[in-house]
């Protein structure tokens, strides 16, 4: 999927009212299922998931605040951020004093509608721009929230692309926020773009790749609870992706217990990307990756972002919309992940077979006979370097030093192996 196709999908998904459960989430996953063969999984309300319980399902059809002239001041139809997530049904006339505790604005960003939820404590509320609030001069307003909280289920989507090995890389993105762009659709779209590309080269994959799109926190916890032993047995690495479409450079957070070979592959891809990037250690205040990395689970999942959640002013407001993001940046995030996976697939352990001083490369047909002098030297130098450092380490450790991708380094390592100068062992 290219930038235009990702934009088209974005346009279909953006208007839908999503929450951590409900029909909006279900519909969003169904649309994504038209692009990649997603399995839809439902966990019933009340399902115990470690310390948590899947909540009742929330659906909403209408919500507004009407002034004394019957004019709708705030209307859910115009922007689904207007209603606090998981609002209980309300219908009645409220004095301004009684209404005010249920109104949420951001005085310092007077045009922005904030994103507010109350998943686990029964409440209701409206989110509106501070400018709108300032115009509300009537003494009382008519309020309507036609919502429903009832037994239902939490929906998530899963796709396993099987490679030669059952060892898996896990790629997770949270889905379940209403109409926001960077902190909602960018993550799922990155994974959809990536999955669509991996599906085209399925036969060549060494590892299996498991994609999970699920609501934040309760979604990842429920998924881990249901799949704990398989995850612990199979997952070799992976990441969560969120906020991957803004104009900032990349930020990658490594897993709690430090780098896996998958993280090295990400790092190599970041170095090759030409973009600005930062790599940080694990944060206990990150996103869903913290549950994967938690005590008793211990799965080494990193976290890819551009500008991290909370570090841009549009975060969790109506300003985090299509104008705020770039589909080129989103596509570059897909490219980065594709490149990381190519590096990871190419990685191997190399051990010199040839010993006792450098091999005479021309004798082994590895000294190019006709070629531009500079190129020749570079390839020769790299062959020599890979051989010289082949002491049982990962190829990826060497490729980073040579300033080339592990994919390129693997081509050279394969040449050396074909001439029995080194031995290659797959990392599986």
């Amino acid at each position: 999927m290219n930038s235009r196709q990702l934009e088209a999908l974005f346009d279909r998904l953006f208007p839908i009212n999503r929450s951590i459960t409900g029909n909006g989430l279900r519909k969003s996953l169904a649309i994504i299922g038209e692009y990649i063969p997603l399995n839809i999984i439902e966990y019933k309300s009340g399902t115990k998931c470690f310390d948590w319980v899947v909540p009742e399902e929330w659906n909403i059809s209408e919500a507004y605040i009407e002034d004394q002239n019957g004019k709708r001041i705030v209307d859910f139809k115009e922007n689904n951020l207007h209603v606090m997530g998981y609002s209980i049904p309300v219908f009645g006339i409220f004095t301004m004093d009684d209404l005010l505790p249920h109104l949420f604005t951001i005085p310092e960003k007077p045009d922005a509608i904030p994103f507010v939820t109350s998943y686990y404590k029964r409440n209701w509320g409206f989110c509106l721009s501070h400018n709108t609030l300032l115009k509300m001069k009537d003494s009382s307003y008519r309020v309507c929230i036609e919502s429903e909280l009832s037994e239902g289920s939490l929906t998530l989507g899963e796709l396993l692309i099987k490679g030669k090995s059952k060892k898996e890389v896990l790629l997770f993105s949270h889905i379940g926020h209403p109409s926001m762009a960077n902190d909602q659709l960018s993550g799922p779209l990155t994974l959809v773009g990536l999955a669509s590309r991996l599906l085209t080269k399925k036969e060549m994959l060494k590892y299996s790749y498991r994609f999970v799109l699920a609501p934040e926190t309760i979604g990842s916890i429920a998924y881990i609870a249901r799949n704990k032993s398989r995850l612990r047995k199979r997952v070799m690495g992976g990441m969560t992706a969120a906020c991957t479409a803004d104009h900032g450079g990349f930020t990658y957070r490594t897993p709690k217990r430090g780098n896996t070979p998958f993280d090295t592959a990400v790092e190599t891809a970041l170095k090759q990307s030409g973009e600005i990037f930062e790599i940080h250690g694990f944060s206990p205040l990150g996103c869903d990756e913290r549950h994967f990395n938690s005590h008793g689970i211990g799965i080494a999942i990193g976290s890819l972002m551009r500008t991290p959640p909370g570090q841009y002013p549009e975060y969790h407001t109506s300003l985090d919309n299509k104008d705020f993001i770039s589909f080129d940046k989103l596509t570059a995030s897909v490219d980065l992940l594709e490149s990381a996976i190519s590096n990871f697939e190419s990685d191997c352990i190399i051990q010199a077979i040839h010993k006792n001083c450098e091999p005479k490369l021309d004798k082994h047909g590895l000294y190019p006979t006709t070629s531009n002098k500079n190129d020749k030297n570079q390839e020769t130098g790299r062959l020599v370097s890979i051989w010289a450092l082949a002491d049982g380490r990962l190829l990826s450790e060497i490729s980073t030093g040579l300033g080339i991708s592990t994919v390129e380094a693997r081509k050279l390592a394969d040449k050396l192996a074909a001439h029995k100068l080194i031995r290659i062992r797959e990392t599986l």
Copy 2:
């Protein structure tokens, strides 16, 4: 003890002529004993202390240089730095040529009287300002030193504040210099201030705190020689304090074998102090801490200073006087040590009990229901962070990362423990 009380004690101690033995030292410790219940210990002259021997006791009643008109050019009564420490008795008329090798000045600081001693080689001398020397035009001078070197003892003061455990923190300061402020009284005053505060919360202390005030080098060596096996068995950490009242930021030197949890507590306190600070490794050219850290002793004692000895021009001269120091800085040094000890007392090993994804904090009553939004997030985030990193490490390692003191972190850890989300083990 606050800044004013420390100044009052300073004023009583400053005029006294102290040396590594003698009545001035004895009197100084007796005065300090009015503030904290110090045990006075005497080691007799001739006592063997490893490679060293307690020297004869030195006392002095009068010392002066008189010109040919009977005018006293230099008089011990005016400043006790005027006599070289451990000067033997002298009485007679000396030509200027014979006198000169016994006169000590600092030409590049012409107003300063230097501090000179000859503890282990019999000698006598006067220290004077270079300006005074320049005025000495007579051909001969009458010299008098009424001193006595005789069998006696070396005096030191010790205070043990007992906590629940017999494990001790050792706090040492050298005492035994004549009238100087930063490189003499600041260290003992810091420890007196600290001890007076710890005495008020004695019942709450987990560890025991042992304070030792003794002469430099021979005092610490004698103390170690007499207490070696107990020190090696009981002392978990500690520090020497010297030069803690000048206007500079803090310098802390860690023990020879690297950081103990007590040093981490000091580091956390330094970070919280708001003052400029540097932390360096062990120096074999430090003060008394080098004997505690030496081969065969191996007690991990650090060293707290503001501007280190020798690194300020007033060092070891009459210019290191009350004007040179600040009682606010001295009090801040006491505060720092008190805060370090609070951190040390609060430290503990934490291990998660709750496993399998994050605990649902509201369920455990740990999600504040009413509070300022920002505060709420901060406490919640810290609780989550402490739980997430509770893999058997010291709490102090986490608190530093969270930017809070170990005391604050311990309150949060205690909450988590009360809800059986983590287990706390005291560091004893």
Copy 3:
């Protein structure tokens, strides 16, 4: 050997046409043999050396290009770089089109004659300045190369200076390039200068020093192949030297498996040299040291340079001549190596005998009684520091921290040992 003597030797060696085999190389080694007692070793053509074979010997008597007027445009007699190394014999008239693929110039350095060889692929060619090429307007030229490729041998020189121990330091420099200064004669001259100095203090040497002057790549590989088991048994460290006479600061590359005590000695010497220097890790694209460090050999050989090969524009051209180098810098390179060896010879393992607080230095006669105050303090402080850190580590680790050479530190350590305060164990 001093700067003038090295220059005189340079002047004798510079004009000789050297290659990786042949009479020029043989003659160069014979001249060097007049200065140091070099053993000349010959390896016959066809000798197998691991993956390599000693090639046929190459000799050349005459080579030129004549224009249609019989004027010699390019003549080997004027500069031996004019002929591609290992050119086969050629005699005939060539059209300019046929000649061109055999002419080598550097268009961006139009005055420089490049250095080109074809050791392992039969070929012939001339190297000339680009300006000369631009003047060649005739349609054809007469070409003559009177060379011979035949069974013979590869020549190298070896000198062992025996110390008390059979443990060796290996010092290698490649010889076998024609008339170039920095990347040819500087390395061998550095080693000749060093050897001539070590010979004068032979009786005092703890270690043995083996000097090897051999052609690049095939020379070092042949030497390793013939001496593998002895090298692996005896060599404790060492280095290659090349490009040591230009005006740049030093660059030292450590061996592949990291620092040996010899490398520490080099580092200490670099710090004491007063010159700018850089220390880098092993490069698989270095010079002959890469064969010593290779799989199956594993000898820890570093590499000393000033400006590294390829990093100055005169490299491998006729511009790398006497004007380009400095005999003072060359001599400073000899000094550096001599100082490194002095440090290495002085190094030892030190362990405190005296325990339990600091020794009383005056009691042991180690506290200078009469001396300038500042000097006294420095020596006393260094004695105390060496004793305090004598926990079984190398003296060289401490000397670096004290800012003195290992030679100076050893004098102090010997004093401490004479008073039984520390125990010294030679590093042999």
